[in-house]
């Protein structure tokens, strides 16, 4: 029901926006909205199609933040303009939407990009028009190097994968097999797990890259079972593919064959735990957020989330990242005293520290990328519900993909 209502409101909002665009489309005064005493946030998310579910989490996260902190900052009313980039297969669309938001809607800052290709395709454009963009998820390491106007509040795959590799090597795992989806984030995950794991003395005994949309994992897992490694490290793109993978791993009885399953946390994100079910038992994952985190920010975040969207709903890491994107923006605008010039905002982002629902986070001033805790979790049944329970914390992890020393 909540969904019905929210999509209804969205529809009205979209219709009004369309009407406004029609009225003002012919006006050529390019500065009409730029210095008009409000903060316009262009939001680019997958709101329809296979990834609409993820888009909704980000929207919810933004809504929770604005419910708590209001819709004005430093005296400026905050207006969000949402656009639908439909998913990962539409980099060109994401670029066009970015352009439209900046040129037509006079967006002062872009918040969005769930997928690597979409962020990548907008990079040169952002550099050209000098507008800051806060990356809400896209997790391939190299993105922030593609434009000096990118800042990332989400996570990077090397952050999770290298941490997991390090943990594995230190916790009695001698040999590992890697299985990643065959696209940029997968290659990142594979590379950095291997680096950290072998640096800690571990040995890779097999590796395979699987097609991104494959749903049948049984033959790949059969190979793993025969190779008898201590652990299987896996990354896949989340959603139905990850659920299928987790079910297949359970069916193939990895644990019964003495193989520990290690995954990046997005594979076993909070919202799909019910779908994965018993497949979560004993699975080790590394991630920056799980719903069971105990801190005041997270308690308030979950409370307001449930107030807004229903007691039986729950946020996942995506909602938290969107919440933090808004938190970062508000703090930066407060710091500049309401000035929205790109260089001032970018300076304000750098080195910013926030108390996020996921714990303390910081924007690395050199790389504009996030520094955060990575939690090592284990799948356990808590009060009849499957959960990722954190048992070890790597504090203040920065993206190893950029540190020249490693």
């Amino acid at each position: 029901m909540a969904h019905l209502v929210s999509s209804g409101i969205l529809g009205i909002r979209a219709a009004m926006l369309a009407a406004i665009c029609l009225c003002f489309g012919s006006l050529t005064a390019s500065e009409a909205f730029a210095m008009d005493g409000k903060l316009t946030v262009g939001v680019i998310l997958p709101l329809s199609g296979a990834f609409a579910n993820e888009g909704q989490q980000y929207e919810n996260g933004i809504a929770v933040f604005q419910k708590i902190y209001g819709k004005t900052v430093a005296g400026l009313p905050v207006e969000t303009v949402s656009r639908d980039d439909q998913g990962p297969g539409s980099g060109d669309l994401a670029r066009r939407l970015t352009q439209e938001l900046i040129v037509r809607d006079k967006a002062d800052v872009i918040v969005g990009y769930s997928f690597t290709p979409n962020a990548m395709s907008a990079a040169t454009l952002l550099t050209e028009v000098k507008k800051p963009a806060i990356i809400i998820n896209a997790a391939t390491s190299i993105i922030t190097e593609k434009s000096p106007y990118f800042v990332r509040v989400s996570w990077t795959l090397p952050q999770a994968a290298a941490t997991l590799g390090d943990w594995a090597a230190k916790n009695g795992i001698k040999t590992a097999y890697t299985m990643v989806s065959d696209y940029a984030p997968g290659i990142d995950a594979e590379t950095w797990f291997k680096k950290a794991f072998t640096a800690g003395g571990g040995k890779i005994v097999g590796e395979v890259r699987t097609p991104v949309t494959t749903m049948e994992y049984a033959p790949y897992l059969q190979r793993v079972v025969e190779a008898k490694p201590d652990a299987l490290f896996a990354f896949n793109p989340g959603g139905d593919v990850s659920v299928a993978f987790m079910k297949a791993a359970h069916e193939r009885n990895l644990a019964g064959n003495g193989i520990k399953l290690l995954v990046t946390g997005d594979v076993v994100e909070d919202n799909s735990l019910q779908l994965i079910g018993d497949g979560l038992d004993g699975v080790i994952s590394a991630h920056q957020y799980q719903i069971g985190l105990v801190n005041p920010e997270n308690e308030r975040f979950i409370k307001v989330y449930k107030e807004l969207f229903g007691a039986d709903t729950s946020p996942n890491f995506r909602a938290v990242q969107a919440y933090d994107a808004m938190a970062l923006l508000y703090k930066a605008v407060e710091k500049t005293g309401g000035k929205l010039d790109a260089p001032l905002l970018m300076d304000a982002f750098k080195g910013e520290k926030l108390n996020s629902p996921r714990g303390p986070i910081e924007i690395d001033p050199q790389t504009r990328d996030i520094v955060q805790n990575i939690y090592i979790r284990k799948g356990e049944k808590v009060n009849g519900h499957w959960q990722n329970v954190a048992f070890e914390t790597y504090a203040a992890v920065s993206d190893p993909g950029k540190s020249p020393a490693k």
Binding site: H3, N53, P219, E251
Partner: protein, 287 residues
């Protein structure tokens, strides 16, 4: 050796899943020659119905399956009577446009009703049990797929090839006027057959949730592979699609096992190769 048996049996189960998902289409598209791109939407409808019956009404999954088959079949029958029957004689392009439009509408409708997220389904415990077979272990769910697929394939093959209904439907598709001329009620025959096709689509959708998941994009996500099964199998037969589905399932498994580097190229490569040598499909009837 046992590892190859495991891969082959898993492949057969995966193939059976493809067959169950495609068999309804081999009735509506294959037998009736109606370009039914709404097939995925009917399968999705079956999935949502099964989920609702098991999760909300508390029915056991196995009891939900026949209900789903009948209910989705009835919906198909009503739709056939009220609209689709006017489309048999229009051009293929208009059939495509109508059915794909219908599928888009159903997908949006599912989003409104159920939201964009994946649906969980409560399954019998023995689905995840490991059953020993030929010296290897196979999941209960996969074994169940193989058995159901075999039963449906046999029943349909007998129905189409050895019963009066089968003879009538083949006659009516090949030459409608002549069939009507000798007293076959083609209208009623087509309505029932279309209902059978959509019912099978619904059943296939319900059976595949555990494997493929269920969200509003289901209506399109598996349309390609399902069309491939029918195309490789050849229109107008039941043996064709089952051969095609088993072939694709086992080949996919063996390639993933022995040559994972080939990736998703394999299944499409096989598709092209088969159609180069058998343009009408493995068991296609030429008319």
């Amino acid at each position: 050796m046992s590892n190859i048996i495991t891969v082959v049996i898993d492949g057969i189960a995966y193939g059976m899943l493809l067959f169950l998902l495609a068999v309804g289409l081999s009735v509506t598209l294959g037998l009736m020659r109606f370009i039914n791109l709404a097939h995925g939407a009917f399968a999705m409808g079956g999935g949502y119905l099964a989920v609702t019956l098991t999760n909300r009404a508390g029915l056991p999954f196995l009891a939900a399956l026949p209900i789903t088959f009948v209910a989705v079949g009835l919906v198909g029958l009503v739709l056939e009577r009220s609209g689709i029957r006017h489309l048999y004689r229009v051009s293929a392009l208009r059939q495509v446009l109508f059915t794909i439009g219908f599928a888009f509408a159903m997908s949006a409708f599912a989003t409104i009703l159920f939201g964009p997220q994946q649906q969980p389904v409560r399954l019998p415990l023995w689905f995840s049990a490991r059953v020993p077979l030929f010296g290897v272990e196979i999941a209960g769910y996969r074994l169940f797929l193989i058995i159901v697929g075999a039963i449906i394939a046999t029943t349909l093959a007998v129905l189409v090839d050895h019963t009066l209904w089968g003879a009538r439907i083949r006659a009516a598709v090949d030459n409608r006027r002549a069939a009507e001329g000798i007293g076959i009620s083609v209208e009623r025959l087509f309505a029932i057959t279309f209902g059978l096709g959509t019912g099978l689509a619904g059943l296939g959708g319900a059976l595949s949730i555990e494997f493929l998941g269920l969200d509003p994009t289901f209506a399109f996500k598996y349309l390609t592979i399902v069309l491939m099964v029918v195309a490789i199998g050849g229109a107008g037969s039941i043996e064709g699609p089952i051969l095609a589905a088993l072939f694709l399932g086992v080949a996919d498994g063996l390639f993933k096992y022995f040559l994972p580097e080939a990736g998703s190229f394999v299944i499409f490569g096989l598709f092209v190769t088969v159609l180069v040598f058998f343009p009408a499909g493995l068991k296609g009837r030429t008319t």
